[in-house]
Amino acid sequence: MIKVQQLTKSYGKQQVLKGISTSVNKGEVVAIIGPSGSGKSTFLRCLNLLEVPTSGTILIGDQELTSPKADVASIRQHIGMVFQHFHLFPHMTVLENITFAPTQVKGISQEEAKRKAMELLTKVGLADKADSYPSKLSGGQKQRVAIARSLAMEPEIMLFDEPTSALDPEMVKEVLNVIKDLADSGMTMLIVTHEMKFAREAADTIYFLDQGQLIESATPDQFFTNPQSERAIRFLEQVL
């Protein structure tokens, strides 16, 4: 589904990603963990070209995202992304936030988009907020709307960039539950997270990044019970 080869990214002289290669299978759920500044978010943002890689290739299905000829906008339609700070459109209602891209980009009819949006809102437990504006929602509710907004485009891959880091502690769970349901439904997902318990329960694979390198790629059981590298051991000591 996703194939990454020798991915590097530099800002000026500072190299943030130092040659990452990996591949993600269809339906695989990957939790990306590591110390802050390790390049987790940059790596994730390269996967839909919000950051343009300095070198290396990224294949989404059989399309090369990093090719100069790539139709980036249309590839992005198949990759949903959820941000730490939600980035809902503040001048639109919850329903409009969700239906905008399907109707404007995919050309789906208003009624069909609305029906689908209400279905998704019911799934994330916010059907009663359809006509509210984002400013009236709590952080947890905002993030669930943001997830529904991404899902409305019927993506094949979902990227989560620290989806619970900006939330008050009591709201973390409601968001993680939604993500977990999604993982169980067979969606291909990559999640940058600091929630170790969640990573262990929900992920098929753990990526441990440090200083721009993919240090370990293992099942949660292997990684959490038997980390291979010195850096992973030290990291786990600090967070667990």
Binding site: S74, I75, F83, P90, Y133, A146
Partner: protein
């Protein structure tokens, strides 16, 4: 990305602008089709009664001695007359640029003017007078020695005023009404004015008196002006000679020139008070008609400014060097030169460069729109920069194309940020719109000037339009408040 498509937007804006004005064009076209006779366009500045003034109390038609003479000559020669109203100072330029075929506007055939235009034989020799306060009563130029004297800018009387021995200053003002103001406030001792005008001045302002000066042998007299090398001079001269012979000219003169003693029957009730709004009786509907013109003009220029300004702001943030340079250069030029210069250039240079006779209102809308775009592009750019970068990323991640993202997601939020600044710009536009009177657009300010000329009263019409402008601005700001509340409903 779809950036090229953005280039269509200014074109669409221009088409819309033309569409707005197309009803006017079609009216002209019909007139032309129905009249096989050739039409000559006459330029005049209708603020000089009794030679030419706007019949503001009735239908707003331009009337006066000059108009009647022109009608007589043209019907004699078998032409149709079309009158184009504009500021006196723009008349010569209008002839040189071919906007008008001839000019009759109480214009004296001076040597100076003969360098740039051709004149017919004179049809009237005016006598000059000294107008002053009744308690001063200056009778000769010599009695004005050492004093400040006024005259209308660009008039022959300016030269006469210069003959005052040791005058401490000759003050030149645009309007007769301004001269009255200056006399009443003792800033000038007296004004040199021609007889017919002086009679009406003193009739409307009982505190003023007039004294005739001896006729000037060097005075070229009032004549019809033509562009250099115009083919019409000969024909006109023949008719003028006929009119002098047959007594037709004297007949018209008597019809239009009031006698100094008994007042004209329909002349305004004279009032000693400094401000007396009853002099505006009958003029109010005429002035109110200017509201529509001012609003239409403000709307067109604000829309054009907003659309062009948005495009320029996109150029500025685009990161494409030539576009950035263009937008920066544009802003620099339009912000760095006076609006009045831009307006004059667009109105007078467009017909010469393109052959398209741009209507005054369109020229004004264009000039103000282009100027306002320069200011707004900076405001909009700031508004866009203030929108959270995450909004753009969220839109990109959803696969929303650049143009849709800008129009539906970034602009509405930017607009909300800059709404107060936009309202400021609109308020400024409404008030600055008074500049368009320079090219003869009959907006509020122009109408006030015409009524001031008509009534020979200085303050009343000015105060009335000031009040109207104020009400317009009040309405605009409260509309903006409502809009702002609507835009902020998301908060």
């Amino acid at each position: 990305m779809n950036k090229q498509k953005l280039f269509y937007v200014p074109m669409i804006a221009l088409v819309l602008l033309f569409a707005l004005f197309s009803p006017m064009f079609s009216v002209y076209a019909q007139e032309a089709a129905e009249t096989p006779k050739k039409t000559l366009i006459m330029g005049t500045s209708p603020d000089f009664p009794p030679y030419e003034s706007v019949d503001a109390k009735n239908n707003g038609e331009i009337i006066g001695l000059d108009i009647d003479i022109a009608k007589t000559i043209l019907s004699e020669l078998g032409y149709e007359l079309q009158i184009q109203s504009m500021d006196f100072s723009g008349l010569i330029a209008a002839m040189q640029t071919g906007r008008v075929d001839f000019v009759m506007s109480g214009m004296s055939a001076t040597e100076e003017r003969k360098k740039s235009v051709d004149f017919s034989d004179p049809y009237y020799f005016a006598r000059n007078t000294i107008v002053s306060k009744a308690d001063n009563n200056y009778e000769t130029l010599e009695s004005l020695e050492g004093l400040v004297v006024g005259a209308q800018l660009g008039s022959v009387q300016e030269a006469v005023a210069n003959q005052v021995p040791n005058a401490s200053e000759v003050r030149k003002l645009n309007k007769i009404a301004d001269l009255i103001l200056e006399i009443n406030s003792n800033r000038i001792a007296a004004a040199i004015v021609e007889d017919a005008v002086a009679v009406e001045m003193t009739n409307a302002n009982p505190s003023l008196v007039m004294n005739f000066l001896p006729a000037d042998a060097n005075d070229g007299g009032y004549a019809i002006a033509f562009p250099k090398g115009s083919p019409y001079v000969e024909e006109f001269n023949t008719v003028i000679a006929d009119m002098k012979e047959s007594g037709k000219l004297d007949e018209l003169l008597q019809q239009w020139f009031p006698e100094p003693e008994p007042k004209k029957v329909d002349s305004v009730e004279s009032s000693k008070a400094l401000i007396d709004f009853s002099v505006l009786q009958g003029y109010v509907p005429y002035i109110l008609k200017g509201v529509g013109v001012t609003l239409l003009f403000t709307l067109v220029s604000a829309l054009l400014g907003l659309i062009l300004g948005s495009i320029l702001s996109l150029f500025k943030i685009s990161g494409i060097k030539p576009l950035k340079w263009f937008a920066t250069g544009y802003t620099s030029i339009f912000r760095g030169t006076p609006l009045l210069v831009q307006l004059t250039l667009i109105y007078y240079a467009t017909p010469q460069l393109t052959g398209y006779d741009i209507p005054p209102l369109l020229a004004a809308g264009l000039a103000f729109g282009l100027n306002s775009a320069a200011y707004l592009s900076e405001t909009i750019r700031a508004g866009i920069m203030a929108v959270d970068k995450g909004q753009q990323e969220a839109a990109m991640a959803l696969g929303i194309p650049y143009r849709k993202m800008m129009i539906s997601i970034i602009f509405p939020q930017a607009l909300r940020n800059i709404l107060p600044a936009l309202v400021n710009e609109c308020v400024a536009l409404i008030k600055e719109s008074s500049l368009v009177s320079i090219i003869g657009v009959a907006d509020l300010m122009r109408r006030a000037d015409i009524v001031r000329a008509d009534t020979f009263r200085a303050f009343e019409a000015l105060l009335l339009v000031a009040a109207i402008y104020y009400v317009l601005v009040l309405i605009l700001t409260s509309l903006a408040h409502m809009l702002e509340r609507r835009l902020r409903r998301g908060d």
